[in-house]
Symmetry: none
Subunit: 276 residues, 2 copies
DNA sequence: TTCTAAATAGAATAATTATTCCATTTTAAA
DNA sequence: TTTAAAATGGAATAATTATTCTATTTAGAA
């Protein structure tokens, strides 16, 4: 398989990939995916660095480029470099055109709300409390994660993140109405990470009560001092999210969860074992 | 003139230039000006190309770098490359995160990655395709949501958002290994919203195949043209998320999901009925 | 299963690119 | 001016980086 006319720019290349990408042999397909996944890195790194990240030989990159008619990898790479040089320009014009129209305008609104949340979180998050939370989670044998309703996705993500970093975590998902049984397995050596915002899901509060009876340390992520979680928890972290179109952002919550996971893993001296 | 501690990042370098730049000899001053004038070019070109553009010898670039304590020009150049890897705006928070160590710095890192994701999404999202996706979802009797592994939280959120807006949505959560049964309930009048990123969870691909057999329209959110979802779906939306500490952000995915939900609800002329 | 062609990994080599070195020029002090 | 120190240009060299080549593996056809 060899083409005579190599693609002229990154968009060309992307189009070609959409068309022919599936016919590529195994390794070359991996390369294609990786290059399209982080084009910035391709522009800024050497062939050796890129190939290492993908997990192939540098020669594979050269072969890949040659299949599409390039002389070598460097020629293909120049497409990626040009792309990076040009983007800042389309950038402005594109944003302008997006701002006022349709669904993409909604997207921008939610993006802005997320930004605002980050800003607010920087102000409200108490660094000391966060470190205490990390210390507590690091001491826990198993972390039980409680989050219902709107916060459930955050809880699911926390479970994924902890798991990916080798931290034992159980999502109290309440399947089959067994939420109480699930949380009841927790005890003094464990910890509960509870996530809840206004209006506080009643299920979460019930589960928290059981954890308290079991004397399981509770770490909460919630929105303000008056939250029922604030009084129930040993440590609680304040996080006020902005909203748009009456949907509250969860971005700061996710960022905090990621930060907590990585910090706990660091504290425990564990490395990340990648998940799917 | 030789310094012992070279600047650590581009901002550092810029500051140093403002402070000491005037004391530099003629040629080196020209170099300084040129480097600061087009930092993108510096990141993306070779020493020879840069020196030619400025009108100096390559060795001058090396000497310039060494004056500031770098081993050679390559070391200085890596500052410019790192700068380009980072988000094009929000420099203030970046600096803030450098000063504060620990978990809050991690939080800032993830916040920044989220920002970069929004920025990239604005570029890669095709407004037309998004509207088509909205139209398809609006036509569906029930929306089946498929997302496994890392993307599962996004799927859970989509289910919440659709539900809160009165759009019938079913999360294919695969409880009890019944994923195939769940998706098999879908048909021509429904729609599947599939969310998956590298490395694509095999469960998702299996479920999608069943939906395809049932002729259920598939709308996918994925990271690039080479994604197996791209070829399987009627409409697919490209969303490349940035990562930090080897955790990929999900912020743009969430924002897109929110935007889609609201747009679909608007199209159907429904009002939001608040959820918990 | 056997055979053939294609694909791959990794070492060897070629090409490119960065850096050093030194002769020459410039700058500024005496 | 004169002189010494600093700065510069450009060729020579070193280091890095990309590419080619070949033995081995893998995939697919017969």
């Amino acid at each position: 398989m060899t083409l005579t006319m190599p693609p002229r720019d990154f968009e060309d290349f992307k189009g070609l990939m959409a068309l022919e990408g599936d016919r590529l042999p195994r390794r070359l397909k991996e390369v294609a995916r990786a290059l399209l996944t982080s084009p910035d890195e391709v522009a800024l790194s050497t062939a050796a660095q890129i190939s290492e990240k993908i997990g192939v030989q540098p020669s594979t990159l050269v072969r890949f480029a040659q299949v599409f008619g390039f002389r070598g990898f460097s020629d293909l790479q120049s497409l990626f470099r040009d792309r990076l040089r040009e983007t800042p320009f389309d950038h402005r014009s594109r944003i302008a055109s997006l701002n006022s129209k349709g669904t993409t305008a909604l997207f921008n609104g939610f993006a802005q709300a997320a930004n605002k949340s980050f800003e607010q979180a920087r102000l409200t998050l108490d660094a000391e409390k966060v470190e205490t939370a990390v210390a507590n989670l690091a001491d826990a044998s198993t972390v039980y994660i409680v989050a219902s309703g709107r916060s459930f996705p955050a809880g699911a993500y926390a479970t994924y993140a902890f798991g990916a970093l080798g931290i034992k975590a159980v999502l109290v998902d309440q399947v089959g109405g067994l939420g109480k049984t699930q949380i009841n397995a927790s005890s003094l050596n464990d910890a509960v990470l509870a996530i809840s915002f206004t209006p506080y899901a009643p299920e979460t509060l019930g589960l928290i009560d059981i954890a308290r009876t079991n004397k399981t340390p509770i770490i909460a992520i919630t929105d303000n001092v008056m939250s029922p979680l604030a009084s129930a928890a040993q440590i609680w972290l304040e996080l006020s999210e902005a909203d748009y179109a009456s949907f509250r952002s969860l971005s700061a919550t996710f960022a905090l969860i990621m930060a907590l996971s990585v910090a706990v893993a660091k504290k425990r001296g564990l490395e990340k074992a990648d998940g799917s």
